[in-house]
């Protein structure tokens, strides 16, 4: 027998057109319920890819909010629009050939020096990142701080859409993270050592043996493996 569930519907406005969608929907599921077939502006649906950047306003408020479509639950009379992509300059560089210095952004994203410290980017960021702080770190030449502060960035583009100084924050931060990882961050010696062990063939025998096992034997080996921690 088919179970019938009663679902409360709430009104929302997508691209200024009114729809009634199930309460508790996210912006993405609400749009799909309303009949929009999304080819752009949707991705992992898990809050990680940054494809579903959306702008919305709530009933009775003038405030403009930014959020991820797959994570933001709709409110009654919410007005929604998607910003799947913001036009942004993309600097082309060869990481191997860059001279890392405090003036690196003059080469690739000189517009960061236009930063007004207005925090408009920080206000719209769906990941609660201190965006202005990392742009300021870039202006000061502190790539480590810029990389660490921008770590949670999923490149949704909302900051870039709103910035009055026309900065593409997320591309500048990406450059900082790349340079930090490659040139500045201390390398773990253990990785180097392990890599050498692998290349020297220390694990060849073990691998070859495992690869020769049957599926049943492999399963048995897996579940019987020794765990050096206890689960209580």
């Amino acid at each position: 027998m088919m179970e019938v569930i009663e679902v409360k519907l709430v009104p929302i406005f997508i691209l200024s057109r009114r729809f009634e969608v199930p309460e508790g929907s996210t912006i993405i599921t609400a749009m799909e319920y309303a009949g929009f077939k999304l080819k752009k502006g949707v991705g992992c649906r898990e809050g990680f890819c940054g494809a579903c950047a959306s702008l919305y306003r709530l009933e009775g408020e003038y405030k403009l909010h930014g959020g991820l479509g797959c994570q933001t639950v709709v409110q009654p009379n919410m007005q929604i629009v998607q910003i799947p992509y913001t036009p942004s300059p993309k600097a082309i560089y060869d990481l191997e050939k860059i001279n890392v210095g405090e003036e690196i952004f003059i080469d690739f994203y000189p517009e960061i020096y236009r930063c007004l410290s207005c925090n408009t980017c920080t206000k719209i960021c769906p990941q609660d990142i201190q965006v202005m702080d990392y742009v300021q770190a870039g202006i000061r030449g502190d790539l480590e701080l810029m990389a660490n502060t921008s770590f949670d960035c999923i490149m949704c583009g909302l900051c870039t859409a709103r910035c009055p100084a026309e900065i593409t924050q997320y591309n500048a931060a990406l450059l900082a993270r790349r340079l930090f990882g490659k040139y500045i961050q201390k390398k773990g010696k253990f990785l180097e050592d392990r890599f050498k062990q692998v290349m020297d063939g220390k694990f060849e025998e073990g691998y070859t043996e495992l690869m020769s096992l049957s599926k049943e034997d492999l399963k048995k080996r897996y579940f019987d493996r020794e765990l050096n921690f206890s689960i209580t």
């Binding site: 007004l116 410290s117 207005c118 206000k123 702080d133 202006i139």
Partner: protein, 299 residues
């Protein structure tokens, strides 16, 4: 040790690092600890002069708010904000005056900055490092001089923003004396340059080198004619325009004699007998070391 909040500004962390290190070291020798403001941002370098432009005031107000937060979180001997760069002084002081005087603008800016936990109340005071030195007393500084710079003919260069506009500047715009008194205390021979507060060209150095070269030529030759052997400055941009741009000056005026330009705190390091590594004398385009060694220094 008297503690005072300190705002560096972006250039003092990079190209003008030696200005910062020398100033902090000199302050320490005079029993003042300069504590860097946490989470400061670029002040914007120039003050927006349009009456309705509040957006460009947000950056300096954010910095003034950081000082206020610092004041509220700890006990301070001196809760004023000290700055080294003339441009930062101009922006911070002028914006501060605007938001102090006009409550409506202060409210608007505070409303805009709603991500902050507190609102700026207009009660921060901004001072320049030289004003601090004057308060300490040039006679007290003279007592601490171990190696007077006797025979060094110094011409202090003020640039625009230390002295103008009149209500923001730290001294009389036509006849300042603050740096002159300082250098006398250090044992120098002070040379007056009539063009000591002539603009160096500022940010035009980015795309109009010829203009900067012309202005630098006038300022430097005027000092040389008066007998100066070295100039001092308090602004990383003036320092660049008067020092590095001597290359362009020489191209245009082949008879020009290069003259070193240093931050005034570097000379203080030498006179007070402090560790020369903090002075950054090797970081200049026109090397001041041959001249200083001539005068009995060992750098």
């Amino acid at each position: 040790m008297k503690r005072i909040p300190y705002y560096p500004g972006c250039s003092l962390k990079t190209k003008a690092k030696h200005f910062e290190t020398s100033a902090i070291e000199v302050a320490r020798a005079l029993d003042v600890e300069m504590v860097e403001l946490p989470r400061w941002n670029c002040c914007g370098a120039v003050h927006s002069l349009a009456t309705d432009d509040l957006m460009h005031h947000v950056a300096p107000v954010t910095d003034l708010l950081r000082v206020q937060e610092l004041k509220q979180s700890q006990k301070w001997d001196d809760a004023r904000l000290v700055v080294l760069c003339s441009m930062c002084l101009n922006v911070l002081k002028r914006t501060n005056k605007r938001v102090k005087d006009v409550l409506e603008d202060r409210n608007k800016i505070n409303d805009f900055m709603y991500l902050e936990e507190t609102r700026y109340d207009g009660n921060v005071e901004v001072v320049h490092y030289l004003e601090l030195l004057k308060e300490i007393g040039f006679d007290k500084i003279q007592e601490k001089v171990t190696k007077p710079l006797t025979g060094l003919k110094v011409s202090p260069y003020y640039g625009c923003l230390l002295l103008r506009p009149k209500d923001i500047g730290i001294d009389d715009p036509e006849s300042p004396s603050i740096q002159e008194d300082l250098f006398k205390a250090l044992g120098c021979t002070v040379i007056n340059n009539p063009l000591k507060s002539r603009c160096c060209g500022s940010y035009h150095t980015l795309n109009d080198k010829a203009l900067v070269a012309e202005l630098a030529h006038d300022i430097l030759t005027s000092a040389q004619k008066a007998g100066a052997e070295i100039l001092t400055t308090s602004c990383p941009l003036c320092a660049y325009n008067l020092d590095q741009r001597q290359k362009e000056v020489l191209n245009k005026y082949p008879g020009f004699k290069p003259i070193p330009v240093v931050y005034f705190t570097e000379l203080m390091i030498l006179a007070l007998g402090l560790d020369k590594n903090f002075a950054g004398l090797e970081k200049h385009y026109i090397d001041p070391r041959p001249l200083l060694n001539c005068k009995g220094e060992n750098v």
